[in-house]
Amino acid sequence: MTESEIETAATVDARGAACPGPLMDLIGAIRDVESGDVVCLLSDAEQSLTDVPEWAEESGNELLTVDETDDHYALYVEKS
């Protein structure tokens, strides 16, 4: 799957934020969407690649995919 194929309810641009900023921004966005909605987190923090899957597993939400570009990651999380 690529960015254009996933319909998102919200996009959180946390590029430039240090950890745990991106994960906290994602958690805040997940609070505000409905079950089944997908939130896209844009982050350039390497730590997001471990923080986000760990939290998704803990919270029962699903990390659908991670897209990598030259300067950031796009992590797609579906609210359970």
Binding site: G16, A17, M24, E58, S59
Partner: protein
């Protein structure tokens, strides 16, 4: 033409900046070439770190209040007024106190943080806090009569003011209850939204063993979703019952910041080195209001104020602005009722907490007293 520099907000960042500019641009102010205006909606300046001590009966909220007029240099025009709108295109503000717009050539947004407990159902009704005067005094009433049961400190929102304060509260509560012979009857639990006990991994690594040694329970990946009838339900599906809930509520900046297109949730998007707003010309932000990723702490606002002052002075004088903020942050961290640690870090250098000592505790208390010199731009 007079250069009009307007500072929005009279907290630590705003007050220090106003005094710093008055000193730095004194000749230009005296000649009428520059005007520095500080706008705050409260005639009093509030030093929030005092609130940590209020629930334990050590300090009074009044200890953290002084009239802004007594702190700010006479060369600064002080307006007690509530700004309702920032128009970055027209470079002007609207306020409740003046019919005409307030025009600016340089604007510094120092509007700080507000609490948003209403974002979590049940939190405003059930949770106590020490992040406001009323919260601290209400919590004092509860804590002073709390002799047994489950005390839960829950960090619900992040970022929040003074990231060390939740750790300080449980360390102080643990010590305070031990001193009073009540600790065996009070269970203490600390919860945090991510997988460790503090946002900064170095501080988390330092704090966790202390918590374990002192029988402070820890719940991580704990994000309250609803609070009802003495129970917290989390987004992760867990539940936790409490007898006394002390919460760090979600924080927001001011809506007028978002309405002006300067950034989300009331935080101004800035270049983290120059502190210039990313979505407007001739606008800076500092302190809690600036989304730099560093802690929302008084020391940050203090250091950033020096940088913004130098940059604005350079611009007023037609010189390149070269001063930059390096992320410098300094915090004393209480580890009990008579011991404290200390951390100092910046964008490039992580913190390394100092061994807790009585000397550092007294250093913290001494600084709290001498803070008023900082607000006046003298320290």
């Amino acid at each position: 033409m007079t250069d009009r520099i307007v500072i929005l907000g009279g907290g630590t960042g705003g007050a220090v900046l106003a005094n710093n500019l008055a000193e730095r641009l004194g000749p230009e102010i005296d000649s009428g070439d520059v005007q520095v205006t500080l706008i705050n909606d409260d005639p009093e300046h509030v030093y929030k770190p005092v609130w940590l001590y209020v629930p334990f009966g050590i300090r009074e909220p009044e200890d953290g209040r002084r009239p802004l007029a007594d702190l700010v240099d006479d060369r600064v025009e002080l307006k007690i007024d509530r700004v309702t709108e920032i128009d970055p295109d027209a470079q002007q503000l609207r306020s409740t106190g003046e019919v005409a717009p307030i025009r600016y050539d340089k604007l510094v947004v120092a509007t700080g943080s507000t609490l948003a407990a209403d974002e979590i159902p049940g939190l405003a009704e059930a949770g106590h806090d020490y992040y406001s005067e009323s919260g601290a005094t209400d919590l004092r009433e509860e804590l002073l009569s709390f002799s047994e049961g489950h005390l839960v400190l829950s960090v619900v929102g992040s970022p929040h003011m003074c990231p060390a304060a939740p750790l300080e509260f449980v360390f102080m509560a643990d010590d305070w209850l031990r001193e009073r012979g009540l600790r065996e009857d009070v269970e203490i639990t600390y919860t945090y939204p991510i997988q460790r006990v503090h946002g900064n991994p170095h501080i988390a690594e330092w704090a966790r063993p202390i918590m374990d040694d002192r029988d402070i329970n820890v719940e991580t990946f704990f994000n309250p979703e609803e609070i009802d009838d003495g129970t917290i339900q989390t987004m992760e599906g867990s539940e936790l019952s409490y007898d006394l809930l002390v919460a760090i509520p979600p924080h927001r900046g001011l809506d007028l910041v978002t309405e002006a297109g300067l950034g989300d949730r009331g935080w101004v998007d800035v270049d983290k080195h120059t502190l210039e707003a990313e979505h407007a010309e001739n606008v800076y932000a500092l302190g809690d209001a600036a989304a730099t990723g560093v802690p929302k702490a008084g020391s940050v606002a203090h250091y950033q104020a020096g940088v913004v002052s130098q940059r604005i002075a350079s611009e007023v004088r037609g010189r390149p602005a070269t001063a930059t903020y390096d992320g410098k942050t300094l915090c004393f961290v209480e580890t009990g009722m008579d011991a404290a640690s200390y951390v100092e870090f910046d964008y490039e250098h992580p913190p390394s907490p100092a061994p807790p000592s009585e000397k550092l505790h007294w250093a913290k208390l001494a600084y709290n007293e001498s803070y008023w010199l900082t607000a006046r731009g003298l320290l």
